[in-house]
């Protein structure tokens, strides 16, 4: 790679770079060879970085006005909304920003699933990603508690009570988490502390995520290993920077729509009622991005097994690089996997919908079927598919199909339709 040959032009630059090679790093990031066939699904890494930075900046400014105390938290949020200059804007960006963050991360994850980006040699990138995702859920959950509304309070109660399912030590752990015998002021202050800390942990992991990415380089829609740099690659700057920038702009339009036109549509009206430990809201629902896992939790009639199923649904993703036995990365060349992929997408969407509905009757039945299918996909279908599936011929390089020689994507699709 060109990194090692890099030498700054100016004398000052050379002097500095010999002592701290930041300019070498900047040069690596600029010249970083990127597959030239990356499509718009690959722009969500950049979008996610934007989301993290937005959350940190708006979060820091909110923290200047917020008071983490059970008696004052709710009032201080209203103070931010009504009195603080542009407080409403900053809070709405932060609250909707969490939803936008999850929207982007789900697209990013499902991109990986479609193009097999989690497979060797990118397992570590994938696992770091899962850890980031878990931290995001923790941060989002604790952030939702801070306004100290009814949903904050009862969401905190229900989620922390999940730990009481652990045999023997469960109750002790819950008391320890609460710092009392119920969710109360000690719980609020520690959640605020952790909510403040986690984004910086995520930022650190994002650096590792990108570092691990830059070792093998990006996967691409064709899913083949490419030579870097070669005629299959383009430098990150300006090609990918411009493409990421354009996608980010489109994303910001969606973001702004929520912030300015329907800032509360993703929240719950109950959270504008101050926390009351005597009354539970009639219908407790988590934020939309946690609904599929909530549906899995409720679909199991046993308390401990429900919690185990919910956690397994997330942790099973970490084992994905080894559960998927297929050597072919991209679903473009896997006609069967492609169908199962879309069934999984539908399954997760159904779980999300069911998670928002009451757990009874037909809803419960559908939730159970969808939960069973979710695990079936990862534990049975993927391992078997790797051995049974007849994959399509994979091109030797990105450029070759266009110049002739090996099959290109259109040809592959054409051939597939003939087989059918």
């Amino acid at each position: 790679m060109s990194d090692h040959d890099y030498r700054p032009k100016s004398k000052v630059g050379q002097w500095f770079n010999d002592r701290l090679p930041l300019l070498t790093l900047a040069n690596h990031l600029t010249d970083y060879p990127t597959p030239k066939n990356l499509n718009y699904w690959w722009t969500f890494g950049g979008i996610l970085t934007f989301c993290l930075i937005t959350q940190i900046i708006t979060g820091l400014t909110l923290a200047m006005h917020y008071i983490a105390h059970a008696d004052m938290a709710f009032e201080s949020v209203e103070h931010i909304m009504r009195d603080v200059n542009y407080g409403w804007l900053i809070r709405y960006i932060h609250a909707n920003g969490a939803s936008m963050f999850f929207l982007a991360v789900y697209i990013h994850i499902f991109r990986s699933l479609f193009y097999g980006s989690y497979k060797a040699p990118r397992e570590i990138i994938w696992i770091i990603g899962i850890v980031i995702y878990l931290l995001m859920m923790a941060a989002a959950f604790m952030g939702y508690v801070l306004p100290w509304g009814q949903m904050s309070f009862w969401g905190a109660t229900v989620i922390t009570n999940l730990f009481s399912a652990i045999p023997l030590v469960g109750e002790g752990i819950v008391t320890w988490l609460w710092g009392g015998y119920s969710v109360d002021n000690p719980t609020l202050t520690r959640f605020f502390t952790l909510h403040y800390l986690i984004p910086f942990l995520i930022a650190g992991l994002v650096i590792l995520h990108i570092w691990a990415l830059h070792v093998p380089g990006n996967n691409n829609p064709v899913g083949i290993d490419i030579k870097k740099p070669s005629k299959d690659t383009v430098p990150f700057h300006p090609y990918i920077v411009i493409k990421d920038g354009f996608a980010l702009l489109m994303f910001m339009i969606v973001f702004a729509f929520f912030v300015f036109y329907t800032p509360n549509i993703l929240g719950h009206a109950d959270n504008y009622i101050e926390a009351n430990p005597m009354v539970t809201p009639a219908h407790i629902v988590p934020e939309w991005y946690l609904l599929p896992f909530y549906a899995i939790l409720r679909s199991v009639p046993d308390k401990l097994l429900g919690v185990v199923a919910m956690l397994s649904a997330i942790l099973i993703l970490a084992a994905l690089p080894w559960l998927d036995t297929s050597k072919i990365r991209s679903a473009v060349f896997r006609p069967l996997y492609r169908q199962f992929y879309w069934i999984l997408v539908a399954d997760v969407l159904i779980l999300g919908y069911i998670g928002a509905m009451p757990a009874e009757g037909l809803y419960l039945l559908i939730a159970r079927v969808a939960t069973a299918y979710y695990f079936l996909h990862f534990l049975v279908i993927l391992p078997i598919l790797g051995y049974k599936e007849r994959t399509l011929p994979v091109p030797l390089s990105i450029t070759e199909p266009i110049l002739g020689g090996s099959p290109n994507l259109a040809a592959a699709r054409h051939r597939e339709s003939k087989i059918k």
Binding site: W154, T157, V158, T160, N161, L162, S164, T175, W176, L177, W178, G179, G180, Y181, S182, V183, D184, P186, R190, P277, M278, V279, T280, P281, A282, H283, I284, R298, P301, D302, K303, G306, P358, A359, E360
Partner: protein, 170 residues
Amino acid sequence: MSDKKPKKRRDFLFTATTAVGAVGAAAVVWPMVDQMNPDASVKALASTEVDVSSVQPGNTITVLWRGKPVFIRRRTQEEIEEARSVKMEELIHPEKDEDRAKNPEWLVMLGVCTHLGCVPLNDKGDYNGWFCPCHGSHYDTSGRIRKGPAPWNMEVPKYEFVNANTIKIG
């Protein structure tokens, strides 16, 4: 330890140093962990006294004890009979009503669903007792779990009648 390499004085020193280091680290970590447990001021709010003279039969009052709601229900004769006539085999968490309500007219229990901690609703559900709206647990007129994901009956706290009209919880 491998057999080829004889144990030396240096190995002993390494082991001893590591052991002392581990004990030292644990001694520092424990205060950091334990500071999150309920503090002295939380523990001090251990008991509360409630005047129940105005509660009519068939009514429930809810009071806060240790941050949790406590249901105090003055049960009707039918409710008591219903609770006492249930066979133990039918119960998920078998407990006699006689043990849960020493004075049959008064049922005192934590108004906390044993599933995930929501507050169940009064006079609701398939067993004329309580119903938890969060995940659909049904409790009977003795606060015992009959149907749904909750594993246990609603907990009866330590309480006593100070006099005919006052209950001391805790």
